[in-house]
Amino acid sequence: MRHLFKRSDPARSGDHNDPTQLACPHARGCEMFELLRAAGTLKTWQIRYCGGNYHSCARHQMSAQGKPVPPNLLPSGQLLRFAGGDR
């Protein structure tokens, strides 16, 4: 039954302190997560923002406040910027 609910607690099946465990309930649907994974830089971001302290992720914070999350918002609160300028 619990799988029906948003997982708001750390991954049940793993060590809470294991930095590779995804505790953030959004991780599965997070587009920035996929973007970082595709670019090959996911691991360090995931360890800092998608594990036990996912509350520090700027994307999660905005979503929890009911605000629209900019697609280019990084977990750190910075926005992805492009060299070619904003088209």
Binding site: A39, R48, A83
Partner: protein, 222 residues
């Protein structure tokens, strides 16, 4: 009295429109989300320009931007750990996944397209047009200032302004409730339930249940 479609045609139409919405617009149909988007634009302003740039960015720009951001956040240690990680993991994580996403197109970002205010306004305005065409077809187009429906009138039209007040209050509950539940009859009821989404199943049972209860209360009170 307007003639309405039989149940089987109505069912076909609802499913057909939901499917068409997916094929033509690339999203699950969900109307209350458009209201939410409009209110969000009003409360929080227009989306950051970088959101659009993200959609249009080339693979190279995307990689560069992400690497720059990663470096800014974690410093040079990140590049070393990534180089190590890449050599021990599958190709999925060494940037070629980006290539696999959109090998020939300039846009490589696997992100949903941010919809513009104009799109939302056009959709809502088109709902109005749909109603207009329907009324024209049925020959029932009639500008009426009073709330329509005999049952509605018998319930609320006795006190002046009673009907308008009920519609207003009902509307507030609809607006607040659909945002709170993150969906309405189209998003949750049609699309969510048919995809067996737990939130949609619960929301749909809740709103149908509450509606039935309210309707019976109204009947008792009348």
């Amino acid at each position: 009295m307007t003639h309405h479609w039989p149940w089987w045609l109505g069912g076909l139409a609802l499913a057909g429109v939901a499917l068409t919405h997916w094929f033509v617009l690339g999203r699950q149909m969900a109307v209350s989300g458009r209201f939410t988007a409009i209110v969000n634009r009003w409360r929080f302003g227009a989306p950051d320009a970088g959101a659009r740039a993200l959609q249009n960015a080339s693979r190279a720009d995307l990689l560069a931007a992400i690497q720059a951001a990663t470096h800014a956040e974690f410093g040079a240690q990140e590049e070393a750990s990534n180089a190590h990680a890449s050599s021990t993991r599958t190709s999925e994580s060494d940037g070629t996944a980006l290539a696999a996403l959109a090998p020939s197109e300039p846009s490589a970002a696997p992100v949903s397209r941010v919809r513009t205010l104009a799109e939302h306004a056009v959709f809502l305005g088109s709902l109005v047009l749909g109603g207009l065409f329907s009324a024209l077809l049925a020959g029932s187009l009639e500008l009426s200032l009073a709330p329509s429906g005999e049952i509605f009138a018998s319930l609320f039209a006795k006190t002046p302004g009673g009907g308008a007040l009920v519609l207003l209050v009902g509307g507030v509950l609809v607006g607040a409730g659909t945002r709170m539940a993150a969906g309405c009859t189209s998003g949750h009821g049609l699309c969510g339930v048919s995809r067996l989404q737990p939130g949609s199943l619960l929301a749909t049972v809740a709103f149908f249940g509450a509606a039935v209860a309210t309707a019976f209360v109204l009947r008792v009170l009348s």
